[in-house]
Symmetry: D3
Subunit: 247 residues, 6 copies
């Protein structure tokens, strides 16, 4: 089984981290293909950057999904996931979506803990979009800037653990999701220091992608997730153009 | 990996069907243990029967979960799942829960199609309990009685397919869940006749149980899903008593 | 008029307290029958214990409801109430349900104040189940353990009053419900020390049970609260078996 | 015990009907005082008329509540109930509120059936205001005009029964409320012809008013339902002016 | 274009302030007609006072709306707006409604900041009534009494600015509405001291009233906002009586 | 005042229609600048196409907004509006958002009527995203294909009017929005044939853009709608790159 992780950011080191965590979390025999945005921003942190990233995600999926069994949009608030689910014939999931739905099976209310204040309200939109606000205990963002997106999980570790504790004690979280691709792998390191189950977005995503690939759901031929009618399009890379035009 | 399916009904034939579908849907190397209620009702179809079944589920899990990596409550509206999640140290999921969360990754709105009118409102409570009413397109129940719970999926097949079509066309369902253990396996047979992805509760449950087992979430030591404090209890089988008393 | 209070716990002293408060709050001429679980746990405080208690409640109602005009499930989050409402031909209400609906007539938002932290999230599920989350100001639990369930209301009185004050001042509660059978009767003692109306679950329940008995609603003969079809059942006491089998 | 029914309409015949049904439904020993608006409209059927009726209700309550133990605003969507609850020191409830909260104890979802199309959307606002939309199965209005508000329940009886049946079969109502003071008493007549419990607004209101009077909740001294600070007011009858000015 | 501001309070100075702010905020060529309640209370701060004010608003609109192109109910929680929208053939909006809908176009979540604690819960009902609770970040009320309603915005300015800051930092407000007619004009003065856009209710209302007048929506002839059927009414001023009786 | 209409589709004729309707609906003195996507699809009808269109909208706004006072994203489900609101210092609104918020001031519940079935579920996401699902009566899509996007409003006029009538009669809509840029201008033509107010997205948008421009809200300097921190970006046109990099 081959799972595509499409990182719609341009930072190769984050893709490398995602790939490593995905490989460690995958079933035996699952192959991970991890690709990085060739255009866009180093790290998506706003709605505007997500609008750019949504298209980058579609480009990456158009080019790299052939031959894969399922695909993951490997940025936390899942830019482009709805459109990708229409266009592709293989299952596509978002990393936040996978993390939240997995968390729902581990308790009643989940919190999302992340490393930068800016992301709180944007993540909240993602929870709303998924219709899961009733299951959300809180979103807790560690305050202050950080030096390097690649090492932010080490740099902020103590603060992140503290935020997890407060989510449990003050917000009644039964489960905590560590949000954002740069935190991939952290859950495994700090699980012993947090008193509720932790969900790692990348680990949840790879396993959920495997589930969907294994269940072999048929592609919709009716409703809004059917393959869209062919449409002329300009200004996009060839692979994406072919997806739209169905040629 | 060993997954326990606890059927809180007393009908061995339904358990056999569940076990067969689960084995067919499981990853290579996953062992399925399927057990049947020794007391209770042949098939749960009301809230009262679910109250009986909830305790039966706890009894089965207490006795059979040792040595398993995850457990599934194998009756559609998940009787006892919250309590089981507290008591056990391995992950426990319900069949409806697994089906609904899986459906959420395949489209925006799901319908549940089932074989008996009586179950509609009770299933609706289950959707509400899971906080997923915003994702529900409809619950459609095929009307009329049926001859035999073991063959109801053949008997009602044409009507079930028609209900799936109406869910797509009239209710804007992107995905359809076939609800109720007696329909296990039907999704695979009729997938070609329904224009959106179908979710089989048993298949979704076995795969989601594998996900949770693989992620090895730590058992909560705080919050309401931590192992409850030891409690004296009377009138329950020994294995369940030991779970409550922690002796 | 005869009202049955079914305490699904095994602690006779709590039943005695419930009976005393119910008798004090009842209309002249109302007879209170209060019964205690013969099996189960001393005091329900978790979902798992509620799953046990739900069945105990059905057993008690099956045995003791004949000759009664209405019944109350006398444990705060109302274990088994949905099933009991299906099975019995007399009205059945839960203590939490009665308290919350009564509170709704005394103000716009209510808080629930109770004596043990563990119960917060479980009570929240009960509020959700009743569709009253929009009317909930807060659930406030007094922290710390307690010595004796029978005297917890004296032991924690000062802390409970403080929690009521905070519910009013910080959470904008218009009414406060004192939650949990062990607090029965406390509302009357401390009413003068709290600046909003207090609702006692037992007092509300006995009065609401009288209302339903007096209105003599017909038993549903259609829909999911009609008497369920006869169903074979094993492993339950005779009286409950007769309710299920309709023999 | 003395219960005031304040009919904010000017039709004495409707008040007479309300009084008769209330007396029949009340506990022995309960005295019913029923008063009619001296100004306003014959029958409230719109938001504009409710705005007039809300003030009429306050006037009636100001004048007639002294000596009463509880009061009912005897028009279905409860004009003025929030303000009355602030101003008076005795409990005040609305007829729709009492009916809906009573219905919640008889099933999971209720429908409201009424005799004129115009009232549907306005009743829906009332359900929303009470935070009970999640418990609402449907509002069904019998179409067509009617000859006389005083005999509309006889005139439309067959259509109303049919609407109740459709509420049960098509909308999954577990309970039906007959909405609007002109339908007072109808529930008792047609109960045998509808397969789920019926709730009569007047009967529910008198019994709920008794409950609140019996529980003797203390008047709030904090929060928004405390007695408002004295306020100068002009243009209202003396009794109401005294309530506002606290002189 | 002529816009009517109907202040349902009796304080002329507040009307004067409203008129001045409205004139400053209006388009060139828009004429502002501002009228004051001849009866009622000096300043609406409770549900009871709003019930009085709702009728005063209808009286003012009946008398002064002829010749106007749109009307504004110039008190924050919009007393009488639903009824006015039925009765009048020109557009009618409430000040809170205009402020909230305008705020929705400036960010995702808004807070309302106001000058008196009493108004929080009543404003919350207004947000609920408008179906905008999902967009509300918080309602923050400055505590403590005030000397004079006419100068409260100067007196409380520092505290109001602080409340705005806390709304942004603690509640994640993207926009802040300054609530209550006595704060009209304050937004312009303190905009530089608050880090998110401020919405002034009067300024928003005059501009939104212009929008509706300019769009010339046809008056509904079906549904509940059609002109109500003629209805006899007593006890109201002539102009209002004519609106009800359509004579 | 200068208002930018950014049509993120490539069909100039639709832009021309939008510009004409906007000019007719604007205040005297308002200048309309209408621009068309240079890349992308002829007409956005799916989530995937909206993901492309969201970026096209940002490109158009980056290039053409300098010198404008407010901007409108002139495609119905508002692709890119959140990101645009972050990036730009002038107000930005979406056409659907403007239409819905305007509709809220004309009645309690609105329907959206549009010309192609495919758009229903996608529009529903837009309503959800705006938190206005509680105000939505229905979305009604005329079935069947159409010959030409430029004349679809004439071609489907009778069916669209019929859909409006059904929205009023069957769904209790108080107001109807005609959804989709190709229907711009239709509301004015058919207003006399529909019994409730109609809202034209373009007309509402131009007027709401004027409101926001006139109110001169300060650009947020805190919270998620503050100007984002400078961010390196590649693969986008120069004007958009400058917006991201703040150089």
């Amino acid at each position: 089984m081959k799972i595509l992780f499409a990182n719609p950011n341009t930072t190769q080191a984050v893709t490398d981290r995602i790939a490593a965590v995905a490989r460690a979390a995958a079933s035996p025999g699952t192959e991970i293909v991890a690709v990085t945005g060739q255009t866009g921003v180093p790290y998506i942190a706003t709605r505007a950057e997500a609008a750019i990233g949504g298209r980058v995600a579609l480009e990456l999926l158009a080019e790299h999904s052939p031959g894969c069994d399922a695909a993951v949009i490997a940025a936390f608030a899942d830019p482009g996931v709805g459109g990708a689910r229409e266009l592709l014939s293989i299952p596509v999931i978002g990393m936040a979506e996978a993390a939240m739905l997995t968390a729902c099976m581990l308790g009643r209310r989940f919190s999302i803990v992340t490393f930068a204040t800016a992301m709180g309200p944007w993540y909240r939109e993602c929870v709303d979009y998924n219709g899961l606000t009733g299951r959300l205990a809180s979103i807790r963002c560690v305050s202050g800037g950080f030096r390097d997106i690649n090492t932010v999980q080490q740099e902020k570790q103590a603060l992140l653990i503290e935020a997890c504790h407060r989510a449990v004690q003050e917000d009644e979280a039964d489960v905590v999701i560590l949000g954002g691709a740069p935190l991939a792998g952290l859950a495994a390191s700090i699980a012993g220091q947090v008193p509720v189950p932790l969900v790692d977005g990348v680990a949840a995503a790879v396993r959920q992608a495997e589930v969907l690939a294994a269940l072999r759901p048929s592609k919709a031929t009716a409703g809004t997730f059917r393959t869209p009618d062919p449409k002329a399009i300009t200004g996009v890379p060839d692979a994406l153009e072919r997806l739209f035009t169905r040629r």
